[in-house]
Amino acid sequence: MRERKIVISDPSLRDGNHAVQHALREDQIAAYCKAADAAGVSIVEVGHGNGLGASSLQLGEAATPDHIALATARANLIKSKLGIHVIPGFATIERDLKPALELGVDVVRVASHCTEADICERHISYSRSMGSEVWGCLMMSHMISPALLLEQARKMESYGAEGVVFMDSSGHYIPDDVRQRVETLVDGLSIAVGFHGHNNLGLAIANSMAAADAGATLLDGCARGFGAGAGNTQLEVLVAVLERIGYSTGIDLYKMLDAADLAEKILMKEVPTISSVSVVSGMAGVFSGFMKPVTRIAKEFNIDPRDVFFELGRRKIIAGQEDIILEVAKELAQQAGRR
């Protein structure tokens, strides 16, 4: 029965940057692009962990500037499309997006916090007007109901997005959560629906399967799960699972497995695992990219990183608000001092 095609988008060279404090170099980008291209990955996403124009003291400075990372990827991708992640509020059209498109980016994914789609209007319509393939991304999507998510996705559709990806940025979902959201989006939109998972609760593959079963046609995955926090959906496993069930991805499994081996060897200092703190991060519903700064700051302030995550979750802190970690740490340290 199942013979639907799933488009695979691989953000190893973007989300993976979170895991190495945005330190990916040109040679690493070049080598992995070649391998992913050879495997037949549809879209290879490249850049700072938080996307275009996000290199900063707030989030971490990128070792490789956007234009060099993109030019390197462009030179090493033949069949695969080159994708970027773009968050308005960080990336501007003039300073960041226009030069990126001039370097030959094919797919622009314009992202906002799940409730703020309207800040994406100009970036989406600009990218469309320049002839790019454009997706909207709703980050931290667990923070709102399926109905509200649809409302936001519809805005993106109205701005010209050709598809909407909802992101489990905290690795908080269980498969039923994902199924409900995909069904709601597929019913309510006339454009494609995609899902981006994180593995904090060990469910990234199961969640991605649920998404496909409910009608999603694009899935994100990273080689060895190379991504923020506990990592993303592990791509080579996802490809194998989809193949076993009977979906077609256009990916050569052996070559994908080779690409994952290469990624483990040359991209990462350690293969992502679900650390104890990652579990808490997923439970608390905090952005996975907070793992490295929370770990560092908790150590500096001599407090328990798990307390920091629960407090950040209680305050409903969103991706991009990394500065608040310091404020929370200071408060927790003061409270500990009083006890």
Partner: protein, 300 residues
Amino acid sequence: MTQAKLKIAILGSGNIGTDLLIKAMRSPHLECCAFIGRNLSSSGMVKALSMGVTVSAEGIDYIVKNPECCDLVFDATSAKSHLVHAPIFKKLGIRAIDLTPAKIGLMSVPSVNLADSLAESNINMITCGGQASIPVAYAIGQTQTDVDYIEVVSSIASRSAGPATRQNLDEYIKTTEDGLKEFSGAKRTKAILNLNPAEPCVNMQTTIFAKVKNPDIAKLAEKLEGLVKKICQYVPGYEIILGPIVENDRIVVMVRVRGLGDYLPAYAGNLDIINCAAIAMAEEYAKATGNKSLEGKTDA
């Protein structure tokens, strides 16, 4: 003896314009003679009518037809509109305080360059993030050597960001970055804006990061103390909640701004700080005009 009040008009009836109206009505130095928008049924207009202010839905045409209605106009429309409005104000001899990121006039931060601003006929209030962060960036520029880089991250409540703000994030970023550079002398600057939808709404916060050669925290802390006192005279809810400290090789200062809760609730410190700054400038004009002198009496 009471001075004659300065006649002002407000162009733009969104969140910014309506909050300005409430502040202007309270001012002993200002008289709001016209509140001008485009739609008489907008909530800002309804508010203005309830306060007994002359309103118009004619936009800039109202000022062209009634040039005597004011000596000073607050332009709270959009950057694009201000580019059209500015030459008209100039021709009519009306002073302009620009609350859009159009940035035609001198960038103005009352706690830093009040005296210079008073000499200008068109001043720009930069952005809300700029008003919150530039005093700190200025203090860094004044007290540190070799300021390589300043970065400012602001978080505001989603409810405090109207449609114009959302459409103009790029202009917000560019204008804030230009302001930071101008006032701090940093080689590179960056501005970032986050909208947080949490309920209850989050207070406006701004974090200033800097990379300098040999951070002198004591000197910076002392300079900031004086500046914060000055800012609190017009924005009482302005507070440094963390720093200055050095963390991970960066100077960090975190500022929280609680508003006066005039049109939007107190969490919307972003709205409050730019409007309080604009009102403070208008009041200084009023005092200076009343004293028939632009010299003296400024504390910058």
